[in-house]
């Protein structure tokens, strides 16, 4: 891990970021004796203050200050309906800022030093070079619990076909999505120009007639993920502030809580009624929100059980959320996500 603190000396001469010395961003005392002396007053994460990078990259820093990747406001906005007004104040003060928001990404987390997760960090991404991107050392860390290992196949099951084709995160998630456009979107679903399968995969241009017909029949009724998510993905239960986290793989199909007309892949959000009891939050409106939310699962394949046979959904109902496989003691709103596919008349 010590290698994560080693800077490439060759960068000092050529990279303009180093022209004004380390103190410009990191403060500290260059003339201090020993590690403690030199580190006195040092700022470990200078880009936590966006004005640091904003000295030169003003427009990006201004936009980023409102980006969901920085504010994590989507997390807060998502849970608001399940809290009373008083509980929300407590949640903001005691939980969101201290816990949820610890996931906010500074400029450095993507461009300089790999983010720490659970206290572990590999340190500088490329010896303090200011990199444009390195998804395997940045995205993969914060999103390494679910999305990334599902994408690469490390979680088990098959890797996403896009990963096999050599596509990394930023092939779909563009720079503008991260830096933001200056708009404080309420959640990621509202972000303009967010990734969409149809950006590359146009309807009506399928090579096979069967695919074209199937897409026409299910358009507006089933999301792309509903058919093309290849395998089970991680479902976390009993959030760590409650009884203790547990995770197991499952493919869950149900109605999208944000759009009840569409069937899609659902992921269990591991919040139970007692999750925030220690903070004095009972979640008086717990039943206002479901525990399952639409998830763009990143293990896509063209051919899956559901694309091979209509029976997988219309007869077997494989993976469909129902009263038996639903979590016990969960929100009453979960029942509104159950969907019974119509039988096929042959």
């Amino acid at each position: 891990m010590y290698k994560g603190y080693v800077v490439d000396g060759a960068l000092i001469a050529g990279d303009p970021h180093f022209r004004m010395g380390c103190r410009l961003c990191h403060k500290g005392d260059e003339k201090g004796q020993g590690k403690e002396g030199a580190h006195k007053g040092m700022v470990k994460r200078p880009s936590d203050n966006l004005k640091t990078c904003g000295m030169c990259h003003k427009q990006i820093a201004d936009n980023y200050s409102k980006s969901l990747h920085y504010t994590t406001a989507g997390q807060r906005n998502g849970v608001m309906p399940s809290r009373s007004k008083e509980e929300l104040k407590t949640f903001d003060a005691k939980v969101f800022e201290k816990s949820c928001r610890s996931c906010h990404a500074s400029c450095g987390d993507c461009h300089v030093k790999a983010p720490a997760v659970g206290g572990i960090s590999i340190g500088l991404i490329q010896k303090h070079k200011f990199v444009k991107k390195d998804e395997g050392k940045t995205c993969a860390f914060c999103h390494g619990g679910r999305v990334y290992p599902e994408y690469t196949g490390e979680y088990g099951g098959s890797p996403d076909v896009h990963y096999q084709k050599g596509m990394t995160c930023m092939e779909c998630h563009k720079k503008a999505e991260f830096h933001g456009d200056g708009t404080a979107y309420a959640n990621k679903q509202a972000v303009k120009d967010r990734p969409s399968c149809r950006n590359c995969h146009k309807l009506g241009q399928e090579a096979k007639l069967t695919a074209r017909i199937s897409h026409q029949r299910h358009q507006g009724k089933v999301s792309c993920y509903g058919c093309h998510t290849a395998t089970a993905y991680r479902q976390c239960q009993d959030c760590h502030l409650g009884k203790g986290a547990a995770a197991k793989p499952a493919l869950v199909l149900g109605l999208n809580p944000r759009d009840k007309k569409t069937l899609t892949t659902l992921r269990l959000i591991p919040t139970v009624r007692e999750t925030f009891v220690k903070e004095g939050i009972k979640m008086e409106n717990f039943d206002a929100l479901p525990n399952y939310w639409d998830s763009p699962v990143h293990n896509i394949r063209k051919r899956t059980d559901r694309t091979r046979s209509c029976d997988a959904c219309h007869v077997e109902k494989a993976g469909f959320l129902n009263m038996d496989n639903m979590i016990k003691g969960g929100s009453k709103a979960n029942q509104g996500l159950i969907m019974n596919p119509k039988p096929i008349h042959r």
């Binding site: 891990m1 010590y2 290698k3 603190y5 080693v6 800077v7 490439d8 000396g9 000092i12 001469a13 180093f18 022209r19 004004m20 010395g21 380390c22 103190r23 990191h26 500290g28 260059e30 003339k31 201090g32 590690k35 030199a38 816990s99 610890s102 996931c103 983010p115 720490a116 997760v117 659970g118 206290g119 572990i120 303090h128 860390f141 914060c142 999103h143 390494g144 619990g145 679910r146 999305v147 991680r234 976390c236 760590h240």
Partner: protein, 54 residues
């Protein structure tokens, strides 16, 4: 001509000083020395809390 020469000297010295500043600082002397970093580094104490977004 004299004014140009003087101004050029000032600009050269300024640029040189910033390069010297960056290179001579104790930050650079320590952090570009891998062996020294290895000897000084202490693994962090792991505490529960940060889990990442997932």
């Amino acid at each position: 001509m004299k004014i140009i020469a003087v101004l050029s000297s000032f600009i050269f010295l300024f640029l040189l000083s910033t390069d010297v500043l960056a290179n001579a600082s104790s930050c650079v002397q320590c952090h570009t020395n891998e062996a020294l970093m290895k000897s000084l580094h202490k693994p962090p104490v792991i505490t529960a809390g940060e889990e990442g977004e997932g």
